[in-house]
């Protein structure tokens, strides 16, 4: 498309290709238009094709004779019509035959010039007009198309798909979403340019499929594509056609696709909703090592309705206090006995009609649409309030870990917000432990590091959550401003059965210790796990072994017990 638009420059002289087997006719026509255009010549369709393949980006118009040896004008028109690039070049047919005029227009010519060449001015005017019309339409397409792949961009894709739906109300259509599995790995291994080439290769296949089956193709963003096609039962064939060997060299890793299909899409909900559904189906495909697909079905529909209900009730739930903050105790095991050192705040939703809603059902949903900002803030406030209450009641501060979501980090007022919450309750900043998940650091590490540094300089302590689940390496730890390393639950779960996981935990604890970080193991359920972690040098333990997350009033028993035990130990 860059090439296409480069042709559209008012000051450029345009190239016109004259195709005629008779040299005198070629020369006369060239003479007529030669003052205004640069002219190239071909004496038959085959020669014309060679020239076109070499110069398609700069030829603005083809003047085409019909009766020619080797490849005649009709045959060339047919070839052009089926070529995605060459079909963009307008063709004016040169003919002395009345019947050829209509036939050639039907075959895609934009105009005809009768032979002999009377009225050169008229010929020039027709040439100029045809070029202008084609360029105007090409400019329009340039705004419609994604510049990298030439597919419709999302907005225009919806418009065309919708138009198709209105013109063909009875035709069963499928909405298909396609993306490339683990493209970031491909980019990491072979470079961004390679990944871009794979995207273009896939886009080319999607475009061809849409063209051949009478559908529309668009690029949503990144490596996510949309196809709107007449209904097909043979999804295997579709996946095979699009996904067949996308890598650029035989020795490279396999590149696979996942595809979500909303069959016989219900257009009454609008095109965007149709493709949201296809996309949701696409996201449910779990196997990323082979190309596979999934359908949008009634279960997913019910889940969507449920999600919608939850999202619609968040404000009421916040206002009515349906969200409850629970606390799970954390114990320091470095001394002779486990000492209550802090707690983690965990949110629960007790819905008046739906009952207990699992955090797994609403937190990912809120993270997706930004509501997590409101909920996190609510939890920070409730946690600070609780710390103040305990401080007043027991005279001790129980530090509390709260979650900082990815999205919070990008909020400009984050630090002021937490500071003012702590100040309002008279809680020191270092009583707040801010948990940031490991994978957030890989998003935009420079920016995140600057935010975290600033938070630390205000006295807040930073915990890296879920360490070991993401892509960061132990060596990366050295450059990250972190106070506490929280080992991912998955390692703890296997510690008693997997020697490898145990060794990995030991290594993490050693490295963290070397960096001056405290280590926390979460998800600890048994004495055996506790002992192994203790031997490995882990500082703090959290998990059902000590207690599940409990409401604040229940948590007080741990504080009281701790106060009691520490008194006994002192005396």
């Amino acid at each position: 498309m860059e090439e296409n638009t480069s042709k559209i420059n008012a000051n450029h002289r345009r190239y016109v290709l004259i195709v005629d087997d008779e040299e005198i006719n070629r020369q006369m026509l060239g003479f007529i238009i030669g003052n205004d255009y640069d002219v190239m010549y071909a004496s038959n369709g085959c020669e014309a094709l060679d020239i076109l393949h070499e110069n398609s980006y700069r030829i603005s118009l083809i003047l085409l004779d019909i009766l020619m040896p080797e490849m005649n004008g009709y045959e060339l028109l047919e070839v052009l019509r089926n070529d995605m690039e060459l079909r963009k070049i307008p063709v004016i047919v040169l003919t002395s035959e009345k019947s050829a005029e209509v036939d050639s227009l039907r075959m895609g010519a934009v105009d005809f010039i009768p032979k002999p060449y009377d009225m050169p001015d008229v010929i020039l005017a027709r040439v100029g007009r045809s070029i202008k019309l084609a360029e105007d339409s090409s400019l329009l397409s340039a705004t419609e198309q994604d510049s990298m792949t030439g597919l419709y961009n999302k907005g225009f894709f919806y418009v065309y798909a919708d138009m198709h739906g209105r013109l063909n109300p009875d035709m069963d259509m499928d909405a298909v979403a396609i993306d490339i599995n683990r493209l970031h790995i491909v980019n990491d291994l072979y470079g961004r340019a390679y990944g871009d080439q794979v995207i273009r290769r896939l886009a080319g296949r999607i475009k061809r499929y849409a063209y051949e089956h009478g559908g529309y193709a668009g690029r949503s963003d990144g490596d996510l594509f949309y196809l709107y096609i007449p209904h097909t039962d043979d999804c295997d064939a579709l996946l095979e056609e699009l996904g067949k060997d996308l890598r650029l060299n035989d020795d490279d890793i396999q590149i696979t696709l996942r595809m979500g299909i909303y069959q016989n899409a219900d257009r009454s909900t609008g095109m965007e909703a149709c493709f949201d559904r296809a996309e949701n189906a696409c996201k449910t495909v779990r196997n990323t090592y082979a190309s596979s697909y999934s359908f949008y079905d009634s279960k997913m529909h019910e889940k969507e309705l449920y999600d919608e209900q939850l999202l619609g009730e968040v404000d009421t739930a916040l206002a009515e206090g349906q969200f409850k903050v629970y606390f799970q105790p954390k114990y320091n095991i470095r001394g002779g006995r486990p000492v209550l050192s802090s707690a983690e705040a965990l949110v629960r939703w007790i819905h008046p009609a739906l009952g207990f809603i699992s955090p797994g059902a609403f937190i990912p949903l809120f993270e997706k649409n930004g509501l997590i900002l409101k909920l996190d803030k609510y939890v920070w406030k409730k946690s600070a309030e609780q710390m103040r209450i305990w401080k007043e009641k027991y005279g001790v501060v129980i530090p509390v870990s709260v979650n900082i979501s990815r999205m919070d980090i990008y909020e400009p007022g984050l630090e002021d917000e937490i500071r003012s919450i702590a100040a309002a309750e008279g809680i020191a900043n270092d009583a707040f432990l801010l948990e940031i998940t490991e994978s957030a650091y890989t998003d935009n590490s420079d920016y995140i590091i600057s935010v975290v540094n600033s938070l630390r300089s205000s006295g807040f302590r930073i915990e890296m959550d879920d360490f070991g689940s993401g892509y960061s390496s132990l060596s990366m730890l050295a450059s990250l401003p972190v106070d506490v390393l929280k080992i991912d639950m998955a390692f703890v779960r296997n510690i008693t059965t997997s020697e490898k996981d145990y060794r990995m935990i030991r290594l993490m604890i050693d490295v963290a210790g070397f960096m001056g970080m405290t280590t926390v193991a979460e998800g600890v359920e048994t004495k055996e796990q506790l002992d192994l972690l203790g031997q490995a040098g882990c500082d703090v333990i959290q998990g059902y072994y000590f207690s599940k997350p409990v409401p604040p009033d229940e948590f007080e028993q741990f504080i009281e017990k701790e106060l009691e035990e520490s008194k006994n130990a002192d005396s």
């Binding site: 008779e22 006719n25 006369m28 003479f31 007529i32 004779d65 002395s96 002999p116 009377d118 050169p120």
Partner: protein, 113 residues
């Protein structure tokens, strides 16, 4: 010597031919002189003799395009007539028309010498 006057005398519609060449005499005469080495008329005669009327039509049609653009009426007339007969693949005696065309081409050739 090939001149516009000579072509007028020959019977060509010189004004029309010139107009198609943006009234550039030199260019027009150059185009006319390019018809001299053209062998399509001989090829047409051979095709008709061999009863290859498809090929005959292609050749006659090509000549028609060339001579009509240059408005060379005397040779265009028999070529035109043959084109229409051959379009319908009429199996008839073309010798008179061929002879007339050959005569006119000969006259053109002489002018260009």
């Amino acid at each position: 010597m090939l001149t516009v006057d000579a072509l007028r005398e020959y019977g060509a519609d010189v004004d029309t031919g010139l107009a198609r060449c943006l009234n550039n005499e030199a260019f027009y005469l150059r185009m006319v002189s390019m018809t001299v080495p053209d062998t399509k008329l001989d090829e047409l005669e051979a095709a008709i003799a061999a009863k290859d009327l498809d090929r005959g039509f292609e050749l006659a049609h090509a000549m028609k395009g060339m001579y009509s653009n240059l408005a060379l009426t005397p040779i265009l007339n028999p070529v035109n007539e043959m084109t229409e007969l051959l379009r319908a693949r009429t199996d008839t005696d073309y010798s008179k028309l061929l002879a007339e065309a050959k005569l006119q081409k000969e006259m053109l050739n002489r002018m260009a010498e």
